[in-house]
Every structure is written in structure tokens, then in C-alpha cells.
């Protein structure tokens, strides 16, 4: 099985984020790490390779700093990496990122493409589905489990409220992988050393720009959400308080 894993570098979870001057994005001088769901997608791909053989290729689109994500993936056992390297890649909307990826891999023949179910920074949850549409492949989202079978794969989709669903799918397919479905492996020292010699292909912005279209989504303004909060104090005996709260829950908040 040849599997491509799309990975993204995002600001560290507890990094102190600040708005940039135009208030359209954040300042870049923070620490970065791999998008957590993508780490699970990579782990799933590596497990599939261990079970069924094949190749795992990782790809990312972003500035030079994003290479770290690829290096870590190679250290964990991915075979090859592709870096769409340019600062401009962070300004593309999800559709354009998918176009760039599709263009970069047009000469390859993957059986499966994995992405994390969404990114910790934007949280659009679209890139994988858009990629499937561009490639003309089947897809399924929020995958908990994957099995290969004759002529295709069988996946377990997560639905709301504790429901799940099995789906039989053809290959090639795009899957977006749910976080926490497996235990992430650690990179080993030998893995890190070997990663240095694994192929890392750089793709420039110009090489894929022909496939791009103007952005259709734009962030007009980024801001800290202001909560106009007025705290209402409820007093009285425990019974009185309980009655007042229930009235509130039922009539105002509509949770009863």
C-alpha cells in the first residue's frame, strides 16, 4: 500500500499568540509543533505499512520551519517526504492547499491519502475532502479504524452521540483520521539518524502556482473574542436558589 499522509505544522498549544499588525493573522514568532490529528494519521499509516507492506510518504505545505514536521515523520518511519516550501503557502485557503497538493503528487500513484480530521489552528476540516474531490476519489471522514480487504478497504466512521458506522470503500480513497485512535510511537535515535538520509523533495510555489486559483475565502479580521459578560447573582435558601436556577435553565437557557 502506498500511503500519503498530509501533515501540518501549527503553533504550539499553549503558545502566547499575538495578532500581527494588520490583525489578519498571528505573529509568527512562536513555537510550532505538528498538528495533533495529523500525528495520529501518520501513526495509522505506519501501522498499515507494518501490516501490509508498502510505502509511507509525508507531505506538508508551509515555510522552511515546517520541515521539522517532515523530519519527525521520517524519524518515526515514513519513507519519503515532500515539502511544498514557501511562506506563501500559509496564505492559501483550503481549496488552494488541496490544489497545490494534488499538483505536487500528480506523477505519483497512491492507494490511500490520510489527513488529520482538522487542524488545530484553522479547524476547517476540509482539506482531505477537497483533495478527494479534486482527484476524483472516494473519501470518508473521522475514521476510527481501517482494515484492508479484497478490492478495497473497510473503515469505521465516527458519528455523533456515540454512534459509529462501517463503510466499504474502494481504493484509492482519501480518509480523514480521528485523533486518539491509536497510541503514537516515539521516534528513536536511530530513526532520527536515518531520517537525515531519506529523500526529501522540495517543491517551490512556482511549480504548483499554475494549478492554483484566486483564494475564495479571506480572513477580513482576526480578533480576541470579547465576551460581554454580566454575571447574574442568584441568592436565597438552597430551595429558592434551586427553583430560580431551574426556571433559568428551562425558560432562558432552554436546556430542560
Amino acid at each position: 500500500m502506498k500511503i500519503l499522509v498530509c501533515m501540518k505544522q501549527v503553533p504550539q498549544k499553549d503558545a502566547p499568540l499575538k495578532l500581527n499588525e494588520s490583525a489578519t493573522w498571528i505573529r509568527e514568532d512562536v513555537g510550532y509543533e505538528v498538528n495533533e490529528p495529523d500525528a495520529y494519521a501518520l501513526e495509522e499509516a505506519l501501522r498499515q505499512k507494518e501490516k501490509n507492506g508498502g510505502e509511507v510518504v509525508v507531505i506538508t505545505a508551509g515555510p522552511a520551519r515546517a520541515q521539522q514536521v517532515l523530519r519527525e515523520a521520517l524519524a518515526k518511519g515514513a519513507d519519503r517526504a515532500i515539502h511544498l516550501e514557501d511562506d506563501r503557502f500559509t496564505t492559501l485557503d483550503a481549496f488552494n492547499v488541496a490544489r497545490a497538493v494534488a499538483e505536487a503528487i500528480k506523477d505519483e500513484s497512491f492507494d490511500l491519502i490520510f489527513t488529520g480530521l482538522q487542524s488545530d489552528d484553522f479547524g476547517y476540516a476540509q482539506t482531505g475532502v477537497l483533495l478527494a474531490q479534486l482527484l476524483g476519489w472516494a473519501h470518508a471522514t473521522i475514521i476510527m479504524h481501517l482494515e484492508t480487504k479484497d478490492g478495497g478497504i473497510r473503515v469505521k466512521r465516527e458519528l455523533e452521540s456515540g454512534f459509529f458506522q462501517y463503510v466499504d470503500m474502494p481504493v484509492p480513497s482519501v480518509l480523514t483520521i480521528q485523533s486518539g485512535i491509536n497510541k503514537l510511537r516515539y521516534a528513536t535515535l536511530i530513526g532520527i539518524k536515518q531520517a537525515k538520509n531519506k529523500p526529501l523533495r522540495k517543491v517551490s510555489f512556482d511549480e504548483v502556482s499554475g494549478a492554483l486559483k484566486p483564494n475564495q475565502l479571506a480572513i477580513e479580521k482576526l480578533y480576541i473574542p470579547q465576551k460581554t459578560k454580566k454575571t447574574e447573582v442568584i441568592q436565597g435558601s438552597p430551595q429558592e436558589v434551586a427553583k430560580k436556577l431551574v426556571a433559568k435553565l428551562r425558560d432562558e437557557l432552554r436546556v430542560l
Partner: protein, 570 residues
């Protein structure tokens, strides 16, 4: 409570190394860089017999280089000028020092010293963020081809036939009960000809080595201070980039040693912190509270008013000086930087010394490599190199500086005057010193001590704007660890905590830890009795507990690599 202990019956994969540097701080980075330069020079002259950098490794427990680095900081450019003459063009610098001043604070007033005492004059020095600076050094190392293993801690030294044979890295994927998890990966045994310990203040492998080889047998014990730092953004115009301020006095009394720094960085950032000597008498002293009280002084409150605290952190620093530095090289090993105590406690500067020590160790390692001899005799030449260099010129005259303060602030100032007049000799060449924790008084002895120290004692409540409680401060250190792992603060006998320490010292760990790792909780079912509760994932790796615990039963070992604080901009 289960502590992190080596697992039985685990096979550790081996990896051969020529040189292993434990620690990716300024000393470790400078060492690696210098080694790379020497190899490049050698290879240029001997193109047919080149040396390879393939088997030179730096181990760094933080997820990335610089992540655990914290300091004021002021950089004396002397050693960087030697290491990378063009460093100023590339390195991240906050500001060149524009002005320096020293203040003595009382509760309400601030008295400026008419001139800054010469050792504290900072003309020609640079305000830097040691985190950013070290990160930049790390990027230089990446270019050289030397491998940095970040997210990997040196957890044990390997010994063979009386020599240090290398380092074992941390086991990964060990659960809270010290059992392997599904993704367990054993630590690697890096079998190295030369191991250089650059772990920073109170290094854990350095402590292990010192214990095994009795390194401190003719030395003064190392003494320490803990620096508690906050990074602030203040309204424009409050402080100039490159403005350097030191303070002494309030909130400390004459019985404590320490002082504060305030440095102006770029874009209206202020680095401020308070160093409290880890030799205070009152066990309820809380260094984080000391910093909060310091900020309430009108002189500081005025500076910070309307500003925002951005980052928090803490780290210890070795004050002991020349007489408390261990032997620097032996069979297969060398010690550099703060791990060896390369710090000028009078000038409060050590980064330039760490860098220089790293460079000299690299030169020693290179010679040892070329001669195939990494014995004590060969690596012992590191000691000689240090003594022949400007390191000794700088450190020897201040060899008795900190000891002069052993009897309080006033006698310390008198001693300082005397020492300066006598080139450091004072009344005898070597002043003795006592380990700081020994000076902590049991609660019943505090009666005779002057009061007026409530501003130092107990937990800070914080007003949420200018001052903060410890948990709020801690949140701003970005500290994260893998939660499901054994506790890495190893307490030899927790009964002492409940039965002895509670009565004698009132469990000072609750106060001296700047990260709320240690808590005393009620024993369920045993009225009146308390037991120790640990929050190991709060740990900021400062080592205060290892240093200050009055019974010396706490041993800090590295948690799983990758975890710890995130000192962006610190």
C-alpha cells in the same frame, strides 16, 4: 507514589559515538560548534583523511533547542567574538546595553547608587533572550552536520572499568506505575569515547558523577540561588531597550542573599526577575512570593502599571565560585558551563563563561580524539586550559565573593570591599562555604530571628494584574509533560516528609518550588497527619528542590524527554 526508576530486564540498543554532549544550552552549543570548526579546519588540511561529524551527538531534553533556557540575560561578548566573529550580524539581540544603574530598595523608597560598581557596569554587553539566542546557536549546529537529539534526556551515565563510557537516554512510554506502555521505547546506550556534561545548574548526571567519584572531596560545596523571572510587555516609553537596572534590599532582609534585575528589551518588553539565594534561614521563604513582593515596590509597580505579564519561569544558578568547582575532566568525561559552576557571581554573568568553557572542552576533546586517548590525563588538560585562559583571570579574583555573604548582607558588603581591595584574597585565600540547605532553620529556631519578612513567606495570593499566585504564574511558563509517567522527583523516604519535616521545617518544599510541584495533603483517615502529594507535570526543571531540601532526600531525574517548560522569549 511510584518514582521513575530504571526498568529491569530491558535491552537497551547501543549506538557508538565519538563525542556526546549532554545538554543543548550555551555551553553545549558552543562546544559542538567549536568542535565542528576544528574538524572543518582539520579536514581542509587533510582532505584525504577527513574526520566525520557523523558520530558526534548533542542530547537535549527539551523538545527543541532553547526551550528550557532561561536567564536575564546579559551577554558579555568576549567569548562569542572568539567563537563566531560575525555573530552580531546574525544573532538575535534584544539591545545593546545603554545604561546601567544599581538601586538599594527599602520598603517604600529606592536609593540609586551614585555610580554603578565596576563589576556591574555593563557597557559593551548585550541584553539577549537566552532562549532565542540558544535557538539560533542550534540552527548553526544544524548547518554543521552534527546531530542534535532533541526531546531526549541523558538519564544515566554508563561506567566501564572506572571510566565514563557514555550516556543512557531516557526510556519512553513508561506509565505512572513505572511499567512499559504499548509504545514503549527503551533508552539508547550511547557508547562514547568522550562525554561532556553541559546540563546547566545542578545537572543530574553531574550529580551522579560527583557522587560516584567523590568529586567534591576537596572542594567547597556548591551554593546556589534561584532566579524567578517574568517577561512583561509594558506601555511605550516606560523603559528603554538596553536599560539595565539591578536592585538590592527590599523585599529581602539582611538575613537573605539576593537581588533583582530589570532589563529593557525591544518592543517594550521588560525582563525582570528576582534571584533568591538558596541559603535563607526561614523555611517558609517562597522565591515566587519574593518576586511578587518586589513588583509591589513603587519603583517597580510604576514601571509595570498597565502592562501584561507574558511568560514566567525559574531556574537555579551556581554561586559557589572557583573553590566549589569540581575537577573538570577525568576518564572519558568533562564538565562545562553551569554544571561545573562557571559563573561570576559578582558580575552575575555566566553565559560568556559557559561558552568559553564549551570551546575549551571542544579543543580538549578534539586533541583527545586525534590522539585516541580520552583518559583522565588527556581530558585533565581541560582543567589546565581553563586555568591558562581568561576564565581564571575573571573567576579567581572573585573566588570568595559569595562566601563573604555567609553571615548576612552587611558583613557581605564589608567583605566585598575587602576582597576587591586585596585581589580576592581577603583575609585568607580560600573562604569556606556551607551548603545552602544547611542554613535553613527549624521552625523553633526562628523565634530569635528578626521579623518583618512576611513579604517573603508563604504563598502569594496575587491581585491578578500586577502580582500573581503561583498557579497563575505557572500557567504562563507553558509547562507540559506526558501525564502518564512516573514521578521524576525521587523522594528517598516519604515518611520523613510526614513525620519529621512537617514538624521540623514545616515542609518547605511547598514554598521553595516555584512550580507548585509539592503539596502536603491530609492523610485520609488519619486526622492531623499530612502526606506529600506531587504534581510532577508542573515541574519547570529548575532543580531548587534537589538543592534546598533540608534532608537532601530529593533527587531530580529527567522526566520523559520533550516535556518541561516552554521558555519562548525568556
Amino acid at each position: 507514589m511510584i518514582f521513575r526508576t530504571p526498568l529491569e530486564g530491558i535491552e537497551h540498543p547501543e549506538m557508538e559515538a565519538d563525542v556526546v554532549i549532554v545538554g543543548g544550552g550555551p555551553a553545549g552549543m558552543a562546544c559542538a560548534l567549536r568542535l565542528s570548526q576544528l574538524i572543518d579546519a582539520h579536514n581542509a588540511e587533510h582532505p584525504d583523511a577527513p574526520l566525520s561529524k557523523e558520530n558526534i551527538y548533542v542530547l537535549e531534553k527539551g523538545r527543541e533547542i532553547g526551550q528550557h533556557c532561561l536567564s536575564g540575560a546579559l551577554l558579555d561578548p568576549r567569548s562569542m567574538n572568539e567563537l563566531l566573529p560575525d555573530w552580531k550580524k546574525e544573532a538575535p539581540i534584544e539591545a545593546e546595553v545603554e545604561s546601567d544603574s544599581v538601586y538599594f530598595l527599602t520598603k517604600k523608597s529606592a536609593f540609586k547608587a551614585p555610580i554603578t560598581p565596576p563589576p556591574m557596569q555593563d557597557h559593551g554587553n548585550y541584553v539577549i533572550s537566552i532562549n532565542r539566542f540558544t535557538k539560533w546557536l542550534g540552527s548553526k549546529i544544524e548547518e554543521t552536520g552534527i546531530t542534535i537529539f532533541s526531546g531526549f534526556a541523558g538519564s544515566e551515565l554508563l561506567f566501564e572499568d572506572g571510566r565514563v563510557a557514555g550516556v543512557r537516554t531516557d526510556d519512553k512510554g513508561v506509565d505512572k506505575t513505572n511499567q512499559p506502555k504499548g509504545n514503549f521505547e527503551p533508552g539508547y546506550d550511547l557508547k562514547s569515547k568522550i562525554t561532556i556534561l553541559a546540563e546547566g545548574s545542578r545537572g543530574s548526571l553531574t550529580k551522579q558523577l560527583a557522587g560516584t567519584l567523590n568529586l567534591f572531596k576537596d572542594r567547597n560545596p556548591m551554593t546556589y540561588g534561584v532566579g524567578v523571572k517574568e517577561l512583561w510587555e509594558v506601555p511605550a516609553g516606560r523603559i528603554k531597550p538596553g536599560e539595565v537596572i539591578y536592585t538590592m534590599g527590599y523585599p529581602l532582609t539582611t538575613k537573605e542573599y539576593g537581588g533583582a534585575w530589570i532589563y529593557g528589551g525591544k518592543e517594550n518588553t521588560v525582563s525582570l526577575g528576582f534571584v533568591t539565594g538558596l541559603d535563607y534561614p526561614d523555611p517558609r521563604t517562597d522565591p515566587q512570593h519574593v518576586l511578587q513582593s518586589f513588583k509591589q515596590h513603587p519603583f517597580v509597580a510604576k514601571l509595570l502599571d498597565g502592562g501584561k505579564m507574558v511568560r514566567y519561569g525559574a531556574k537555579t544558578m551556581p554561586y559557589g565560585g572557583w573553590w566549589s568547582m569540581p575537577p573538570l575532566g577525568g576518564n572519558g568525561w568533562m564538565i562545562v558551563g553551569d554544571s561545573a559552576g562557571f559563573l561570576n557571581s559578582q558580575r552575575l554573568k555566566g553565559i560568556h563563561l559557559a561558552i568559553k568553557s564549551g570551546m575549551l572542552a571542544a579543543e580538549t576533546a578534539f586533541e583527545a580524539w586525534m590522539s585516541g586517548d580520552s583518559s583522565a590525563k588527556q581530558l585533565g588538560t581541560f582543567q589546565k586550559k581553563v586555568e591558562d585562559s581568561w576564565i581564571r583571570e575573571e573567576l579567581y579574583p572573585v573566588r570568595n565573593f559569595h562566601q563573604g555573604f555567609e553571615h548576612g548582607f552587611l558583613s557581605g558588603m564589608l567583605n566585598t570591599g575587602l576582597l576587591m581591595a586585596t585581589g580576592g584574597y581577603g583575609i585568607r585565600d580560600r573562604y569556606p562555604a556551607h551548603a545552602g540547605h544547611e542554613r535553613m532553620l527549624p521552625v523553633w529556631d526562628l523565634m530569635g530571628h528578626p521579623g518583618g519578612r512576611s513579604q517573603l513567606l508563604g504563598w502569594s495570593k496575587g491581585d491578578g494584574k500586577l502580582t500573581f499566585d503561583k498557579l497563575t504564574d505557572l500557567y504562563h511558563s507553558g509547562t507540559r509533560h506526558e501525564e502518564d509517567q512516573p514521578a521524576h522527583l525521587i523522594i528517598k523516604d516519604t515518611d520523613i516528609c510526614s513525620n519529621r519535616c512537617a514538624k521540623e521545617y514545616g515542609n518547605p518544599c511547598q514554598f521553595f518550588c516555584p512550580a507548585n510541584v509539592y503539596e502536603m495533603e491530609d492523610c485520609p483517615g488519619e486526622a492531623g497527619k499530612k502526606r506529600i502529594h506531587l504534581n510532577p507535570s508542573n515541574c519547570v526543571h529548575c532543580k531548587t528542590c534537589d538543592i534546598m531540601d533540608p534532608y537532601q532526600i530529593i533527587t531530580w531525574v529527567p522526566p520523559e524527554g520533550g516535556g518541561g517548560p516552554s521558555y519562548d522569549g525568556m
